[in-house]
């Protein structure tokens, strides 16, 4: 997850609190020692309590897919060799659900199911890996039509499916992978830009996607919709 670390024009620096809440990380800013949930970006305790950090569109993918789609990318420099994850055994074990069993464990799916979560205000959706294979997934968050899709760089992104006030019906051509609306415009769901057709030059508003285990997402959004296949 990537957040803007400014609030009201002031810049904050985040560190790891060493604390967990709802089985997930609490971040703390050095300047005010406010506690922030890493999953939602909301201040849960301290001077900024109730404030919300802006969650930015970011993806999780492989180095290979990322560098192919973004050849100009910069990469965080390693000060020493790191060749694997410390936590592979955790990822591979379906029974290990965080450090403490989630108190709000939702039984709709196994806890370790990887979902792509998106939310607008209190409205949330969790989309499974299976539902995203070769498809554009449509969801409605409150009154807002949203689409989620996997882009060329391997990342899953979401956008508000609306241009110039009109709701877009987007579909992916299974052969070419092209995403097209009902009016024949073609959209790049990596950047949200219309790349050809009548809406050429238009831009969809981005909605941040959180790749997360189900047990964690449902802990924050117990009423979340689920789109599975």
């Amino acid at each position: 997850m990537v957040y803007a670390r400014t609030l009201g024009g002031t810049k904050y620096t985040f560190q790891v609190s060493g604390r967990l809440w709802r089985n997930s990380l609490i971040m703390v800013d050095r300047e005010t020692e406010t506690s922030w949930s890493q999953i939602t970006g909301r201040a849960i305790d301290g001077p900024h309590r109730g404030a919300q950090l802006e969650k930015l569109a970011a993806v999780e993918t492989t180095w290979e897919d990322w560098r192919t789609a973004h050849p100009e990318t910069k990469v965080l420099k390693k000060s020493k060799e790191v060749l694997s994850s410390h936590y592979q055994s955790y990822f591979d074990d379906p029974e290990k659900l965080g450090l403490f069993r989630a108190q709000w464990l939702e039984e709709r799916m196994p806890g370790k199911t990887l979902v792509y979560g998106a939310s607008i205000g209190p409205h949330a959706v969790a989309v499974t890996e299976g539902a995203l294979v070769d498809e554009v997934v449509e969801a409605t968050l409150g009154d807002t039509p949203v689409v989620l899709a996997r882009a060329r760089d391997g990342g899953v992104r979401a956008f508000v499916a609306r241009a110039e006030g009109e709701i877009l019906e987007l579909g992916r051509n299974p052969k070419t992978g092209e995403v097209r609306d009902a009016g024949g415009s073609i959209w790049d769901l990596g950047s949200g830009r219309c790349i050809s057709g009548p809406r050429s030059g238009s831009h969809l508003e981005s909605v941040a996607v959180t790749p997360v285990y189900w047990f964690a997402w449902s802990g924050f959004y117990p009423n979340t919709q689920v789109i599975d296949r």
Partner: protein
């Protein structure tokens, strides 16, 4: 290959397996919204990166594996990737991209 992408969306696990296995039982330090807050490690014990250094994609080939999971972000046309294996030990990078101050978190 996608299945190797950990994407647990939280860094819970960095609190285990960091050589702190002998730490005392986690202490409940607060209750928020009816749920306990556990203190597992001192603040900053997992060090965030505050002055990140970057290499080009070509240079990064020397430090990355093809199937290595990354957190990727594009801001104003500028793309950045952070190795999730590297972030296991840091969890937060306080960064600036195209003049925007951001926190990349894992």
């Amino acid at each position: 290959m996608r299945s190797i992408i950990a994407a647990f969306g939280m860094a819970v696990l960095a609190l285990i397996g960091m050589g702190h296995a002998s730490s005392p039982v986690p202490e409940v330090v607060a209750t928020i919204g009816g749920e306990q807050v556990y203190q597992l490690l001192p603040v900053g014990a997992i060090p965030a990166i505050d002055d990140p250094g970057f290499v080009s994609g070509a240079e990064a080939e020397l430090q990355m594996r093809a199937d290595e999971p990354v957190l990727g972000v594009v801001i104003d046309g500028e793309a950045r990737a952070y190795s999730l294996w590297q972030l296991d030990a840091h969890e937060i990078v306080n960064d600036e991209i195209s003049g925007s101050a951001i926190a990349a978190t894992w």
